[in-house]
């Protein structure tokens, strides 16, 4: 606490300055962060301050007169470290040290110690000034940082799925990890110092791709690239690469962090999947095309021919006497029945009207024809924003046909609702009934007797979609399936 200036002694007069004794008192009373005290020429404590009490744990009356070696750990005392510290300060004028010291209660702290030799005007040693600072917390923080850095280094070093390494500001490799060695084939000592363009194929180097990537990373902070890279043995792999520019706090470019992943297998897997899908889609299209062709043949030839024959038989029957007339009429009836069966066949081969009307309308027709006979009420909710391609419509129709047939055969339902909608790049369909629902867990397990489940699911999965059957929220059974609908710029459809 500074003394308040009295009115008779205006501020700025020499009387405002504290006396040397006051200064000592102020220092002793107020400085908390540093232990500041004096030792005599032999190392006994002459003065004490608040910081010393706080850091070392001794009150002034306990500390004064003691030899300062009590602040050292026993092992240091055994090695005569306190004496050597004073001797060094005596010779050099000053001694600085960092190390463990001991508090009154025996606990240790990490101390920064400066001992300064105090000579008077005649050059006589009058004692030492000692300033001690408790560095325990800072040391712990530094230790923690070092450990964290070490852990991170080990982590990076041992990661084997990713090549993680650093480039200097000009693109030369300055660090390397296990993943880099595994993916690229170089050992750390072979690659350190080399320019990272060695990882690029010749044509990319010629096109300036390595430099371009570094420039983009510098401008944008990071760059992601996917493409062929070259291993040490010259073989290629498909890489996903992220390069991050590393700037220090003064915005100076210190280098680049580079993370590379070998995507060759994923790429192969994706391609194989795409090939398989394409093949399956092709098979489905070929199958539908064949069915349609047969349907049209039956329709355009067999049904026409039989219709003509039946009509002529009936005309002939009217011109013939009995019993021939009756016989011919009966034959004509049978031909008409056969025409009816052929029409059903055509329907099965090619859902009726699917080429002429919307999917919802075709399903509506089908339900109108079937549901009445089954004693079922039905609803078709059409939420399609756009009509799917014909082949998708056929697949949806066929699965619905099967699902509705199951409702009729197994559900004991009174109402069935078919809902059509777009979901992602495809058509999501729901066939929900209010029947008995799935009572046996086995119902969900495919089997020869199990509701054409296999057929429905295979139809959906063959074209890359999914199919599921579950118990409805309010009872009954819900069949739900999604069929991908390729965009119009995709593969040509029939």
């Amino acid at each position: 606490m500074a003394p308040h200036p009295s009115p008779s002694q205006p501020g700025g007069s020499p009387a405002d300055h504290p006396s040397p004794a006051e200064i000592q008192h102020l220092l002793e009373r107020n400085i908390r962060d540093h232990a500041i005290f004096m030792l005599d020429a032999d190392g006994h404590v002459l003065t004490w301050n608040l910081g010393a009490q706080r850091i070392q744990g001794y009150r002034a009356e306990e500390a004064l007169g003691r030899h300062f070696s009590v602040f050292h750990p026993p092992e240091d005392v055994a090695l005569a470290k306190p004496e050597r510290e004073l001797a060094a300060a005596r010779v050099e004028g000053r001694f600085e040290d960092e190390g463990w010291r001991v508090r009154k209660d025996g606990s240790r702290f990490w101390a920064n110690v400066v001992i300064t030799a105090l000579y008077d005007d005649e050059g006589l040693l009058r004692g030492f000034a000692k300033i001690t600072r408790d560095m325990t917390e800072r040391r712990a923080a530094e230790e923690a940082l070092r450990e964290s850095e070490e852990r991170f280094r080990l982590l990076v070093q041992d990661v084997s799925d990713y090549a993680i390494f650093m480039l200097d500001a000009t693109g030369h490799v300055i660090s390397w990890n296990a993943g880099a060695e595994r993916i690229k084939g170089y050992r750390a000592d072979e690659i350190r110092g080399r320019h990272f363009s060695v990882f690029y194929p010749r044509e990319d180097i010629a096109a300036g791709r390595p430099e371009h990537n570094l420039e983009t990373a510098m401008l944008d902070g990071r760059v992601e690239d996917e493409g062929w890279r070259v291993r040490r043995d010259g073989s290629r792999f498909w890489a996903n690469v992220v390069i991050t520019a590393l700037y220090d706090e003064r915005r100076r470019l210190r280098g680049f962090g580079k993370v590379t992943r070998d995507m060759t297998e994923q790429r192969e897997a994706e391609r194989a999947l795409t090939d398989r899908r394409r093949l399956l889609a092709h098979l489905v299209r070929a199958q539908e095309a064949e069915r349609r062709r047969i349907a049209w043949d039956v329709h355009d030839d067999s049904i026409q021919e039989m219709t003509a024959i039946a009509m002529r038989q009936q005309v002939l029957a009217e011109q013939l006497p009995e019993p021939y007339a009756a016989q011919l009429l009966e034959l004509g009836e049978r031909v008409n029945e056969a025409i009816g069966r052929l029409r059903t066949l055509v329907t099965r081969l090619r859902p009726p009207g699917i080429d002429r009307q919307t999917l919802a309308a075709a399903l509506g027709d089908h339900l109108a024809e079937q549901a009445a006979g089954w004693g079922l009420k039905y609803h078709v909710r059409n939420r399609l924003e756009q009509e799917p391609p014909a082949e998708v419509a056929v697949t949806v129709f066929r699965i619905c046909q099967e699902a509705l047939s199951n409702v009729h055969k197994h559900a004991s339902a009174t109402t069935v609702t078919v809902t059509l909608g777009n979901r992602g790049q495809g058509v999501l369909t729901q066939v929900a009934d209010d029947g008995v629902g799935i009572t046996d867990p086995d119902d969900l397990r495919p089997g020869p007797e199990h509701f054409g489940v296999i057929e429905m699911r295979e139809r959906a999965e063959t074209v890359g979609g999914w199919w599921t059957m579950s118990r409805g929220a309010e009872g009954g059974t819900v069949v739900e399936f999604w069929i991908p609908a390729p965009t119009t710029n995709g593969a040509p459809l029939l």
Partner: protein, 134 residues
Amino acid sequence: MTTPVPATPKITVLVCDDDARICDALCEVVDAQPDLTAVGVANDAATAAVLARQYLPVVAIVDVRMPGGGAQAVRALREHSPDTRILAFSAHNDNGAIEEMRGAGAHRYLVKGAPVRQIVAAIRELAGSEADEL
């Protein structure tokens, strides 16, 4: 036309179908009836229009599928011979096909395989009730 002229004129029928076998059979069915006569056969929509203007048939039997389209044939018939009653006759029995023909102006719809008696009755009905709509 060598048969003696009957007291009442016969109902004239135009047959429109791209299948020759169906056309022949329909003509045979029509001509076997004392009160009906087939006046022409069209295998496509364009010919149907020409023959409709030429004969102004009382009834036209029109298939759903033929070159130019069954619906187009119906529209052409209605334009060139507005009084002609139209019987759509098709192997298709889906609502889409029926709606398409009805929308074009067909008055009745019969599915192929229907008994001759029904076809003949439909022709007579259409000829007799010109105000009737499908």
